[in-house]
């Protein structure tokens, strides 16, 4: 999935990426907004900035995220 700025997402599973830290398990089930997608090369492997409701803003691997709605 290619994420875009402003898109609503859910953290729905732990990531298999090395950047996933144990505390990020607290984010599973949280909804949020993509605030900064990978900035230059549309890399599916890039960490992207997500602001999660009540949890703050974090850079997360993309495989733990899924969109909540189609981007308009």
């Amino acid at each position: 999935m290619q994420f875009r700025r402003g898109q609503k997402i859910e953290v729905y599973q732990p990531s298999k990426d090395e950047a996933w830290e144990s505390y990020m398990g607290d984010f599973i089930g949280c909804h949020g907004i993509i605030t900064d997608p990978d900035t230059a090369i549309n890399d599916p492997d890039a960490l992207i900035e997500v602001s999660l409701q009540g949890m703050g803003t974090h850079r997360l691997p993309q495989d733990c995220l899924r969109p909540l709605e189609s981007h308009t």
């Binding site: 505390y23 900064d36 997608p37 900035t39 230059a40 090369i41 602001s51 703050g56 803003t57």
Partner: protein, 743 residues
């Protein structure tokens, strides 16, 4: 509870201890420096235990510090505090352990702090609603003071932040987000101009020294907070100027150099030393710095190397028209103002590509085109930046796949391209640009600038052998503390995240400064990044619902287009003062109204009125919000006020009216009715009608006049006495009392 430990039985011991220590510290009861220091450290650890951010070493960290109190028997304050804490910890160890292990508080006292969504969204955790309220009141310097608790570069961020806060702004669910970024810039400019932009008080020097590598936003941020904590800080900067990418990556029409200089000067005024033109690992080494007494290192080296395009002709025409965007923007920033060519093609779709294109135009290029492999909607650049570029005449060639750079041996003459189309690959829902067969063409160009991404330059980093690197070529850290795998070495900014945002770098620098302080003091590091801190609760700003709804986000006045195309003058001219004050008043004050929805539920489900149309409360599916509509049905009963857990909804009788306010917005205003007998306030007529309607079936109407409950009871009593004979067995005194009531 044992003697000497005055804590109510129904209060969570973790919460109670935090309250006790906070009171001791805030009241000035503790005066002995060592006792204050230990108490502050314990308080910090306890707060993390309370809000679910503690690690497994936190409780032993607290116990170790409590033991410190008893090492100095001649200090009665320390002994008293230590004795109190020791008793609490001995009695309630399982409760503390449970908080750490489960993150839950059985007493429901340790409710996680819930700052506003904008504050939570800010990677630096700035208390946005507080500073917006201060700006609305014209208190710009105070606003800057609040911002600098979390971000030492408010002016810079006011111009270039990617503003995740605005993306989470709740006001956007009603119309448009509050223009948080520009308000910050205004306040900083005003405070600086009036000489009111000052540094907070610094702690005395503690004799410990930290070396920061890189004077970019992360390095400056860490240096600022470390200096405030009393550390000696030296920044090593390989460039001749401060700011890192702020200075050499962001063009001057977006961020004037003077702004960086002024904010950096505030940091150096704290005693931070910046050594320019100094390359770590070449001009100075880790060993030499350690010999000088530097006990910790903070690596904020950024991501200053450009990815190569990998196209045929790229190497052959390097410096003959082919340049990478990082080098191009850096050279321009450092004073090289030669036009790259008449026809410039920039390859890429991010903000750096836009910056390179707009800079080329200002240097005198006649035609500038941005070639991007995907479509406009996939461009990662800010929408506003793209719009500004288009206004200035930059052309966009979407679905353009460069294949080779061509030239006449002397210089570049063009870029071979293929037309692309977006297709889905098997097992992926991503769209990939694929060339259309036979669609090749040449885009004529005198200069080709690549802007397809950057990576970290590792030169000099071999001095830290134990620092681990990720497969992305960035420094591996624990995100909560920004500590690398080498003890005493910390890192943040683009070197950790890859090319990211200024505000992330600032937030990382701040987090690292706190972690370095913990490192020196032997305190355990938190398990997860700290929740932002709310510093105060500013009072509501009162305004009618119609004003709250009608106020609109102002358009940014821009420099005229001819100047924008020819000069490096700041393109955004900034808001006027009136615009700023009004825009700040659009803030919904989500630091007070937590959008729990209890008011909406009680009004709709319990009272059956459904007057509160607050559709903005739902994040996933926001509905209609119109504060003006409340007055249509609201009876001002006060049920919403009673149930609000945070005093966000308030009710006030003033000048013969009852006002219902949501965070200061007057959502209902009704004339009050007074008792015809005693003159007491009875409430608005709508409310009385509601009560009468609800109680009509269960009590007879004894009178037509408007009477308060007290007078109504009195009249009922008179009526009853008149119609029902009083028992003759009443004692004399009781009869007298009854007479008294009658009067």
């Amino acid at each position: 509870m044992e003697k000497g430990v005055h804590m109510a039985e129904n209060v969570c011991p973790v919460h109670g201890t935090i309250l006790h220590l906070s009171r001791q510290l805030d009241s000035g009861a503790l005066t002995e420096p060592r006792t204050i220091r230990i108490s502050e450290e314990i308080l910090k650890l306890l707060e993390e235990i309370s809000n679910g951010h503690a690690g497994k070493d936190h409780l032993s960290g607290v116990n170790d510090r409590v033991a410190e109190f008893f090492k100095n028997p001649g200090n009665p304050q320390g002994l008293k505090t230590g004795t109190y804490l020791k008793k609490v910890l001995e009695k309630h160890t399982p409760v503390f352990e449970s908080h750490i292990e489960t993150g839950n508080c059985a007493f429901m006292d340790c409710i996680r702090l819930a700052p506003s969504p904008c504050q939570m969204a800010c990677p630096a955790g700035i208390d946005v609603p507080t500073y917006l309220s201060l700006i609305a009141e014209g208190k710009d310097a105070e606003a800057i003071e609040v911002i600098r608790h979390d971000n030492p570069l408010p002016w810079v961020c006011g111009l270039v932040c990617t503003r995740p806060c605005e993306m989470m702004c709740v006001r956007a669910r009603i119309d448009t987000p509050v223009s948080i970024k520009f308000l910050k810039a205004f306040a900083a400019e005003r405070a600086m101009s009036h000489g009111l932009y000052t540094n907070p008080p610094q702690k005395p020097l503690n004799g410990k020294k930290v070396c920061v590598v890189g004077a970019g936003p992360a390095g400056l941020s860490a240096a600022y907070y470390l200096a405030l904590m009393g550390y000696g800080v030296r920044i090593l900067e390989s460039l001749p100027v401060p700011g890192g990418m702020l200075m050499v990556g962001i063009p001057r029409y977006r961020l004037p150099r003077e702004i960086i200089d002024r904010e950096v000067a505030m940091i150096t005024a704290l005693g931070v030393e910046i050594c320019y033109n100094t390359v770590f690992g070449k001009d100075v080494t880790r060993d030499s710095l350690e010999k000088e007494g530097f006990g910790a290192f903070f690596l904020a080296i950024g991501a200053h190397k450009s990815y190569q395009l990998g196209l045929e002709g790229e190497e052959a025409y390097k410096d003959k028209g082919v340049v990478d965007s990082v080098m191009f923007l850096k050279n321009v920033a450092l004073g090289q103002r030669t036009v790259p060519g008449d026809r410039v093609v920039v390859i890429g779709g991010g903000n750096v590509a836009i910056d390179a294109a707009r800079t080329s135009l200002r240097l005198g290029a006649k035609e500038v085109t941005i070639a991007y492999r995907r479509t406009r909607s996939e461009m990662p650049a800010d929408v506003e930046e793209v719009e500004h570029a288009e206004e200035e005449g930059i052309k966009f060639a979407f679905l353009t796949i460069p294949t080779a750079i061509v030239g006449n041996e002397e210089k570049v003459t063009g870029l071979n391209c293929l037309q692309g189309e977006l297709v889905k690959k098997e097992d992926s829902d991503r769209l990939y640009p694929m060339p259309v067969e036979g669609s090749d063409y040449v885009m004529e160009a005198d200069a080709v600038i690549s802007a397809i991404g950057q990576f970290v330059d590792t030169d000099g980093m071999d001095q830290f052998q134990e620092v681990q690197w990720t497969r992305r070529g960035t420094i591996e850290v624990a995100r909560a503390s920004m500590e690398t795998s080498q003890h005493g070495v910390f890192a943040a900014g683009d070197a950790v995240t890859g090319p990211a945002t200024v505000i992330e770098a600032i937030g990382g620098g701040k987090r690292a400064a706190e972690a370095i302080d913990r490192y020196f003091n032997g305190m355990p590091q938190p398990r997860s990044p700290k929740v932002p801190v709310r510093y105060r609760r500013e009072k509501h700003i009162e305004m009618p619902a119609s004003t709250k709804m009608v106020l609109k986000r102002p358009e940014m006045p821009m420099l005229n287009i001819d100047r924008r195309r020819t000069m490096f003058q700041q393109a955004e001219l900034g808001y006027t003062e009136n615009m700023v004050r009004e825009e700040a008043r659009r803030c919904l004050r989500c630091d007070i109204c937590r959008r729990c929805g209890k008011c909406v539920e009680v009004c709709r489900d319990k009272m059956g009125i459904d007057a509160l149309k607050f559709g903005y409360m739902d994040f996933d599916n926001p509905g209609e919000t119109d504060f003006r509509k409340t007055a249509e049905n609201c009876i001002a009963c006060g049920a919403c006020v009673a149930i609000c857990p945070n005093d966000a909804i308030t009710m006030e009788d003033r000048n013969g009216e009852r006002l219902l306010m949501l965070c200061g917005t007057v959502i209902n205003r009704q004339k009050l009715v007074h008792c015809e007998s005693c003159g007491a306030i009875m409430g608005p007529q709508k409310y009385l009608d509601y009560v009468n309607k609800k109680t009509q079936g269960i009590r007879p109407v004894t009178q037509k006049a408007l009477l308060c409950n007290s007078c109504s009871r009195e009249q009922s009593a008179v009526f009853n006495v008149a119609t029902h004979p009083v028992t003759p067995n009443l004692k004399k005194e009781e009869a007298c009392n009854f007479e008294g009531v009658k009067k």
